[in-house]
């Protein structure tokens, strides 16, 4: 019962936040000068008037706002005002699929490499491997992703010719952008894993397990890893949302038609419906990621209690 109420509550707040997000974006977007039909070569007034009429831009702002709310309530994101007659949902679908594919691979790579690096560092604490892993981690966090991307592109695509410079066609196209995209998460996960594993390794129950005569492998897999990886799980939620929404810079450098690039372009040309559509899409995605993380907490961490009235 507590769970159902908890979820209903969360969902309600998600809807409220989404409404605030949509309204704020709508009015802010309209407040910036320019509109989708602003161009250096001015469109004659009679044609501009007709375009405004067709897209409802001649109506008062509150009218446009309520009409938009009505449309999205019916699940209609409308058509792009710049990419003529193309459905916003189609644009989001096509560009998000590229970001998602790239992001998913990057997440898997970050988690595996990050956890392994962190574990090695913790197991060989204060040895060479530890220092090397931590130098890498500091580098990964300190060097901005566009520098990583440019350097990778120059060295591995151009100098060595191992990978294509740009494009998103075959498996080879994944290597460099994934490496650039996961550098930072790998560094972060490695540090998280290392510190929490160190804590666990020094815990009394590990000593107990050792005393019991369990093998290293058993201790590692049953006790150390399981407890040591908890903080990583909580980090995966926001990281996933971050990575799959597309990195504009990485997409730009490697010529990948992702949703991040699409979003920035839409703002530049004031493509109102696309700006709103992607904003809503991002909003829902982030809220869902948060929601799932919250629910996951309840299951993973026994210290979180739902307000079921048990204490009373």
């Amino acid at each position: 019962m507590g769970m159902v109420r908890y979820i209903a509550n969360k969902l309600f707040y998600m809807l409220v936040s989404l409404f605030v997000l949509v309204s704020a974006t709508f009015f802010l977007m309209k407040a910036i000068p320019g509109d989708p039909f602003t161009s250096e070569k001015k469109v004659p007034p009679e044609i501009k008037a007709r375009l405004y009429e067709q897209y409802g831009l001649d109506k008062p702002l509150y009218h446009q706002y309520f009409k938009y709310l009505g449309d999205i309530a019916q699940g209609d994101l409308g058509v792009s005002m710049k990419r003529l007659n193309q459905d916003v949902s189609h644009l989001i679908g096509q560009t998000f699929s590229a970001s998602l594919k790239l992001g998913a691979v990057a997440i898997v790579v970050s988690v595996i490499v990050g956890v392994v690096l962190g574990m090695l560092a913790a197991l060989y604490h204060r040895k060479f491997i530890d220092s090397a892993a931590m130098v890498l981690a500091v580098l990964g966090i300190a060097v901005p992703s566009f520098v990583v991307a440019s350097v990778l592109q120059y060295v591995f695509a151009y100098k060595f010719g191992w990978f294509p410079v740009s494009g998103f066609k075959g498996p080879l196209n994944y290597f460099l952008p994934v490496a650039a995209l996961s550098a930072q998460p790998i560094a972060f996960i490695a540090r998280l894993t290392r510190s929490s594993m160190l804590e666990v390794l020094n815990a009394d129950y590990i000593k107990t397990a050792k005393a019991k005569g369990l093998s290293w492998i058993q201790i590692l897999s049953k006790h150390v890893l399981r407890n040591g990886i908890l903080p990583v799980v909580t980090y995966i939620g926001p990281m996933t949302a971050n990575v799959v929404t597309g990195s504009v810079v990485i997409e730009q450098i490697f010529g990948i038609g992702g949703i991040g690039k699409q979003f920035v372009e839409a703002i530049g040309v004031r493509d109102y419906t696309v700006i709103m559509g992607i904003t809503i899409f991002y909003g829902v995605l982030l809220m869902l990621a948060r929601f799932i993380t919250d629910i996951a907490y309840v299951f993973i961490d026994p210290r979180i209690k739902l307000s079921g009235g048990k204490e009373g």
Binding site: D35, K42, I47, L84, Q86, T95, Q153, Y158, F168
Partner: protein, 575 residues
């Protein structure tokens, strides 16, 4: 413990700096040593000097797939809705209008129209259509043109064509758009029979045959009627040009494939054109050097401007520079003090060093501009700019100082107040603005505040005369000085200076109805003298150039006067 931490930090720092420096240094090394990794290096030495080789020696490559980059995705493939050069590049491969431009001669050649007759008064054109077919096999008929043009001029088309005014040359076209004429039969286009099209103009237009090769004039297949979304999917696009759209992944790539039903399919050697959609000059250059692109740079893509001098030295046989009919200038808001004073405006225009700016800042080999109509635009006999020299003013700091003093005295000022120079966000515009502001400071001692504005904000401000001095650029719509000079008529849609001069308006209006080429040219020269020489409503800076890289095995790609590219007749040699 403390010691090892600081040691770690040191190592990390050294590595970071090392990586960054390596990135920069690598570029230079490469610039000097030539591109070892590039597969074209061998070809470059083999083919050196055979640029002018005869066709007899050429062997075609087995794979005729051209790879090229577009720095922006065309927003639409509907000829009626298109408005930009990227759409133009792709549409030109997919459609053919009544005429085709021959980029070498600058003349319109028969396209879908096999031949034509022009009435003595220059108003009525009668076109005979050849036996061409659409990509689905349907014949291309006169009525396809009538329907296409009606779509453009119909305010109820969904959405209405932003370039509808490109068809206002036709009789009653504007009247039909504004609903003063209700019956489309009264508009100057008529299908006499399946293969004969009669076009009646509002006024004699010497460049009309060239206009017919422009995308707004392309025919569309009858299946588009009632299907507003026809141009959003490759499956519903039936075209009549050399290629058809066969792949389209939003934001990622486009592909067109040779259309075997095209009437002149025998002259088309390319089997496919792959377009990538990358808007980063650095990436495009690297892709080109890596052999992933056959051509890079303007007009389809972009090369980083600070790399141009390096590329020019590194790849002399692949680097091309071509002047195009576009002009870069700073315009003045002439409605507000102190720039309501022509002497002050002239002083600013005369006190910068254009060649120094080009050599040190823009780096693209642009031409210093002292007029508004760029070279490459046709005049009465040959190029307009060849007949009418742009000697409307000279760079002369002493004379500029004197003019400024006079102007200030007329305005009752003792010093030019600090003014704003605005430009839209772009590294190049910023560099130019800073350099020019510095020249003004040095030469005239005036203080300038440069203001960077996001593009749409900038355009909005400029169109509402909410500026003092602003950056601008103009590209030819058609090959005639009119496309530049009719901008500055009183209240003109693109007149962002606030200039209002009845004498100027009269010259332009007279030129619009005149069919005497020599007289027109005289009127244009007078008008230009008035706007630049006398009133300096804008300060010309340079005429644009297109800088590009083409692999030596790629031939047959042509650029027209405005820098628009025609890929259809390209071909790849064995390499």
């Amino acid at each position: 413990m403390k010691k090892s931490k600081s040691l770690l930090l040191m190592i990390a720092l050294v590595l970071v700096i090392g990586t960054v420096l390596a990135g920069c240094g690598g570029n230079n090394n490469n610039a000097n040593s030539g591109n070892n990794a590039s597969p074209t290096n061998a070809a470059a030495t083999d083919n050196a000097g055979t640029n002018t080789g005869t066709a007899g020696e050429e062997t075609l490559a087995a794979d005729q797939t051209l790879r090229i980059n577009l720095s922006a995705e065309p927003p639409t493939f509907d000829p009626a809705q298109a408005q930009d050069s990227q759409a133009n590049t792709v549409l030109k491969t997919m459609y053919e209008g009544l005429t085709r431009m021959n980029d070498e001669t600058g003349q319109a050649e028969p396209g879908i129209a096999e031949s034509w007759e022009i009435s003595a008064d220059g108003l009525v054109y009668t076109f005979k259509l050849r036996d061409a077919v659409w990509s689905n096999g349907d014949p291309v008929e006169a009525v396809d043109f009538v329907n296409a043009w009606k779509r453009v001029l119909d305010p109820n088309t969904d959405p209405t064509a932003p370039y509808a005014y490109q068809l206002y040359y036709l009789k009653n076209a504007e009247e039909y758009y504004t609903k003063k004429v209700a019956d489309f039969n009264e508009v100057g286009v008529k299908a006499v029979d399946a293969k004969t099209l009669e076009v009646t103009l509002k006024a004699p237009t010497p460049y009309f045959l060239g206009l017919l090769s422009f995308y707004t004039y392309y025919p569309v297949h009858k299946s588009v009627e009632g299907n507003a979304k026809w141009a959003t999917s490759k499956d519903t696009m039936i075209t009549n040009g050399a290629f058809t759209l066969t792949e389209w992944t939003t934001g990622q790539s486009l592909q067109v494939t040779k259309n075997d039903k095209y009437w002149d399919a025998a002259s088309i050697k390319l089997s496919k054109i792959d377009f990538s959609l990358v808007n980063s000059g650095a990436t495009e250059l690297l892709s080109y050097k890596n052999g992933e692109l056959d051509r890079a740079g303007a007009p389809t893509g972009d090369l980083p401007s600070d790399q141009l001098p390096i590329i020019e030295k590194e790849l002399p046989n692949e680097f091309n520079r071509k002047g195009i009919a576009s002009v870069y200038y700073y315009e003045f808001n002439v409605t507000e003090k102190p720039f309501s004073n022509a002497k002050i405006r002239k002083a600013l225009a005369m006190s910068i060093n254009r060649q120094a700016l080009i050599d040190n800042v823009t780096l693209g080999g642009q031409l210093p501009a002292f007029g508004f109509v760029p070279p490459g635009i046709a005049g009465a006999d040959g190029e307009y700019r060849t007949a009418i020299k742009d000697s409307y003013f000279t760079e002369d700091v002493e004379a500029a100082k004197k003019l400024l003093a006079e102007g200030l005295a007329e305005e009752g000022l003792d010093k030019l107040p600090t003014f704003e120079l605005s430009y839209n966000t772009s590294e190049n515009h910023k560099k130019i603005a800073l350099a020019i502001a510095d020249m003004w400071k040095q030469n005239l001692g005036v203080d300038v505040q440069t203001v960077n504005q996001e593009w749409a904000v900038f355009i909005d401000n400029r169109q509402n005369l909410n500026y003092q001095v602003a950056r601008a650029g103009w590209t030819a719509d058609y090959n005639d000085p009119m496309t530049f000079l009719d901008m500055w008529v009183t209240g003109g849609g693109n007149n962002d200076t606030g200039y209002a001069n009845p004498e100027y308006d009269k010259l332009i209006n007279d030129a619009k109805v005149s069919s005497d080429l020599a007289a027109r040219q005289e009127m244009f020269a007078k008008a230009e003298q008035m706007a630049i020489g006398d009133d300096m409503i804008l300060m010309p800076i340079y005429y644009y150039t297109n800088n590009s890289l083409t692999k030596e095995y790629l031939k047959g790609i042509t650029l027209d006067f405005s820098g628009a590219i025609d890929l259809t007749r390209g071909y790849l040699l064995e390499h």
